[in-house]
Symmetry: C2
């Protein structure tokens, strides 16, 4: 059978360069990786205990496909208390991590040919999902506005693409890869242009609990009828590999996405759903200790990278530093990360994976020791390679 006749949208999409690069460098036993957005914390003990109990109670049967009712109830309460979300349990579907929340949302909202705005740099999953679903992507470069999407930029995109049926925007706040956390004022400025133009907002708030010195403000408060919120337990409770996410949205939308979700995965792992009830009921403060550590590390990495000659945007949230490679190195992001991996055994992500080849992304969801080793190596490499070029 010939493969060239299969779905062209699948052929057109590239595998994640991020995960491939991470996988490739993992064969180096000396490598210190600051690549993936993966907490180096373990799942809190009380949640692990709840998972053990769910196994012992033989919770091995299908959960109702929307997700266990008690979990949706717990999510409704938890996120209302944390961020003021207004969603009832019947406006929530439990998904296989934020990834499935996003993929099912994109599939549900848009039809082939619709256009979606994507501020860049951006997490590569979004672009892949738009390609897979045969959607037009309007990239908006935010590097000249502090990596913040402004209403003027949205208005400009609408003017630039008069023939496009612009149906949606994907907003990541706090942002991956830049670490930028939108202020309430920035969100309030942005909302009207989206409302006026009837643009659905897919608001990926997976890093919502990881903000430093400011509270997360969700755009769903201003645009409740046209916002789909994505969240989950991967970052707040260090449960990445356990795969629990949530979609929150208006009732009519939730009824539709529930079908897509059901026919895509049935439902997430039952024992993890039960453990997640514990996370959302008694784990309100699980992120606090992590946040404290992350803040220390952020300050350390940002300082060190500036000393090494990088431009660093102020990261108000998440656990990334997005740093501009010193011009004196004459290196793009792939040159930089490949050299750093090969010669200095440190793994970073190239900005190109996110749409900006002049930057590299450092995940500081790593141990102090790893960060210290990495900073030394980066400084050394800048010194070595600047010399070589002279």
């Amino acid at each position: 059978m010939e493969l060239d006749e299969i779905n062209p949208n699948v052929l057109n999409v590239k595998p994640s360069a991020m995960r491939k690069f991470d996988h490739d460098i993992s064969s180096d036993p000396q490598i210190v990786k600051l690549t993936l957005g993966e907490p180096n914390f373990n799942v809190p003990e009380h949640i692990k205990k709840a998972a053990h109990e769910a196994i012992d109670k033989n919770e091995s049967h299908y959960a109702y496909y929307w997700g266990v009712e008690e979990l949706r109830e717990a999510a409704s309460n938890y996120y209302r208390d944390k961020f003021g979300y207004h969603y009832t349990k019947d406006q929530i579907v439990v998904t296989v991590g934020a990834t499935e929340a996003l993929s099912s949302t994109v599939k549900t909202l848009f039809k082939p040919g619709d256009a979606v705005i994507l501020p860049t740099p951006a997490y590569p999953l979004y672009n892949a999902l738009l390609t897979l679903n045969d959607l037009k992507t309007i990239l908006i470069d935010t590097s000249d506005s502090g990596f913040v999407l402004t209403p003027e930029k949205v208005q400009q995109a609408i003017s630039d693409y008069p023939d496009y049926n612009i149906k949606g925007l994907i907003l990541t706040d706090p942002n991956n890869p830049t670490g930028v956390a939108y202020t309430q004022e920035q969100i309030e400025n942005l909302a009207p242009v989206l409302k006026d133009n009837g643009i659905w907002v897919i608001s990926d708030e997976i890093y919502g609990e990881l903000t430093y010195g400011q509270a997360h403000y969700s755009i769903s408060k201003l645009l409740p009828d046209q916002t789909i919120v994505i969240n989950g337990l991967s970052k707040s409770h260090a449960m990445t590999g356990w795969r629990i996410g949530f979609v929150f949205g208006p009732t009519g939308f939730i009824d539709q996405i529930a079908k897509v979700h059901q026919f895509t995965v049935t439902t997430p792992t039952s024992i993890v759903q039960y453990a997640s009830i514990e996370a959302l009921t008694n784990g309100q403060n699980d992120a606090a200790a992590m946040r404290k550590e992350y803040l220390k590390r952020r300050d350390f990495v940002a300082k060190e990278m500036k000393e090494a000659g990088f431009d660093v945007v102020h990261p108000g949230g998440a656990f990334y530093v997005f740093a501009k490679i010193p011009a004196g190195l004459h290196m793009d992001s792939w040159d930089f990360v490949k050299t750093l991996a090969k010669e200095y055994h440190i793994g970073l992500m190239p900005g190109d994976a996110f749409g900006d080849n002049a930057y590299i992304r450092i995940s500081y969801a790593a141990s102090d020791e790893a960060l210290s080793t990495a900073m030394k190596a980066i400084k050394q490499m800048v010194k070595d390679k600047t010399k070589e070029k002279v």
Copy 2:
């Protein structure tokens, strides 16, 4: 925001009538359910132990998106030994149950407008996936050929739809809902017409270990270059709610589906992947005890249903009896199951959910006591309702 502008394929698909009906009748505290295809066995203790250990070892991080390598290696060996599959670990992707294996396969293989053959009665997921992906569905009724798809029927469909680009066939063997297990001879008869017409076969073999008196024979042996095999641990190891499935296919296809899979869910739950290594390494005989029980129950249910006046197709596999409602009742499948649930507190699935309104499906993945209660109630209902009609 108006929902009538969202993806029309999503609007067009109906939520699973099966799961909704099951959910609705569950509010009756007296209900005895023989509805879902859900083993009443628990996950074997050695697999639960492995899951406990994975939690304690903090296996909470992202697995590589193809699935944990050791698990793919174990799957390669296990299914080679069980059914003679020829797939190496690099021709396997670990999925969120068989559902995600199917949804990612359909998404990968076909482009909007392609046509896919679906023998009926069929598990409703298939039809929903074809609608969601904007594919044309060619239904082939198999009720007049003992619920077996014959080459003549495929040839007839090709002649009947000369303008269709027939790209695929979904085969479920052993079958849900009919319980029919194809013989090697039936598979050998079927293969040539598929080969000659370049039709991809999606072979759902999730019930492969549950055959009675005959060995499962996979069509992948005859059509290795155009078969995608779907399997998983839900039925063989009673792990439905734990959500582990596998896709097996030719290398070129696997490279493509790996992208769809990654961008749909990232990867299944890590702790369950580690537990699944144990299932496939030391759980070769886990299904044997279940199979023995299922066989006894099958014989009991088939006998009782015949006595009650139903036509029953001989179920050679899976754990379903598909039974034709006695003509004297003048009831279609919804009338029958709704009356049985409301007045007799027994839950069955209407054949209409699978495309044949003259039948009901009984899952005998239930306790002897539940089956005995159900059989009595069904006999009573047939007696009562036949009287009423006279």
